[in-house]
Structure formats: C-alpha cells, structure tokens
Symmetry: C2
Subunit: 119 residues, 2 copies
C-alpha cells in the first residue's frame, strides 16, 4: 500500500519522545539548536541527529543567521496531528513551564545581546 507512505513517513518521524519535545519547542516559533539544548537538556549532537530525521521527513527547515541555525516547522498541519494525538491519549505533553525566553540560554532570541554595551 504505497498510498499510505506519506502518512507513514510523518508518523515514523514523530514517533520518538525527543522529536516530540523538539516539535513542542517549535510551537513557539523558530528556534536555534542551542536554545533546544538548554530548553530540553539534551546533548547538542543528540538534538542534531533528531533534527536530521525531522528534516529528512520534510517536517522542518533551517535558516542560517550568523552563528546560529534556526529551525522551524514547514507545515503547521503537523501541529494539528500532535494536538489530535494529545487529545486521543489524554496526555498533554510536557508542561510548558518555560515560555519562549529562557534565563540562562545563550541564544540570541533569549539574550538580545546588549550589543552596544562593549562599545
């Protein structure tokens, strides 16, 4: 049944807790790897590996900005899939205690560097 391949690809990509956690972070918009690192507490290489899976599945795209590479979900429809799964299982993922900004995060989004400070 090749007719189910697209959905299978999607489900396979999403069938991993780390990847679900990453996508949950991306609900707040694009995020760089170092942000996910501090937000989720995973190793950098580990996150990159899972991002590779999500990229190969066509779920996320990356954009370079200086040092950082920002990831974002290509098709917002995947969030509907995640939400449907949350409803179906009755489990609503990880509590979104941390909002978009994280205190000790080195990423430019969380630390809008007081860039003029050193001048």
């Amino acid at each position: 049944m090749a007719a189910y391949d697209p959905q299978t690809k999607l489900f396979k990509a999403v069938g991993h807790p780390a990847r679900l956690a990453i996508l949950d972070v991306l609900r707040d918009g694009e995020a760089c790897v170092c942000h996910m690192e501090t937000a989720l507490g995973y190793r950098q290489a580990y996150i990159s590996q899972h991002l590779m899976v999500l990229r190969d599945a066509g779920l996320v795209q990356d954009r370079r900005d200086g040092w950082n590479i920002f990831y974002s979900v290509i098709n917002p429809g995947v969030f509907d899939v995640l939400s449907a799964a949350q409803s179906a299982t009755g489990s609503h993922g990880a509590p979104r205690t941390h909002s978009r900004k994280i205190e000790n995060c080195p990423c430019p989004h969380c630390n809008p560097v007081a860039e003029a400070a050193a001048c």
Copy 2:
C-alpha cells in the same frame, strides 16, 4: 521526557503502512481478520502480527463470535489523528473503492450466510 510516552506509543504503532490500512478498514466498524485478509490482500499471519502491535499499543480490542474474532478501534480519537495526518500530507490514504461489503469475502458480515438455506 516520559511525558511524551503515550503519544510516542501511539505514533509508533501507527507508523506502518499495513497498520494504517488496517485502521482504515476499521473506520467502517468492526471487522474480522479474514475480512481484512480479502480487503487488503495480506497474508493472515501478517495481519495478525500487526494486529498484535495495535493491541499492545491499546488501539484496538477484539471480540470473539463463534469462529471469527472481530476487531474494533477502542478510542475513536485515533481516527482524528489519522485524518489530521491526511490533511497535513495532502494524501488521503487508499481510495475506498470497496465499501463495507466485499463480494468474495468469507466473513459473516459480507456473507450473511443464507443459513436457513440448507434446512
């Protein structure tokens, strides 16, 4: 992240074309194994193996009635997940050419045995 385990379990179970096809058959209500066999063209053991996965994931339940064992989806919410995935991918599964009843299907639902015939 143990918080994502329920959804991960769901996605892993659903991340296989044969299992998606089976669930698609179950949209029309309960079905016995031999019905899926003729509806999908898979081997009996193959179907049973995938049904085992779906059962272990808590997605389907079985009910015995004489010779046949009828399977059905426990939580209709999974259909919402499937539908969301179809919308997200733009692929709407296999064309439902065969309706509930299949011509040469030996199952009692398709062949409401003219049981009084022999008497």
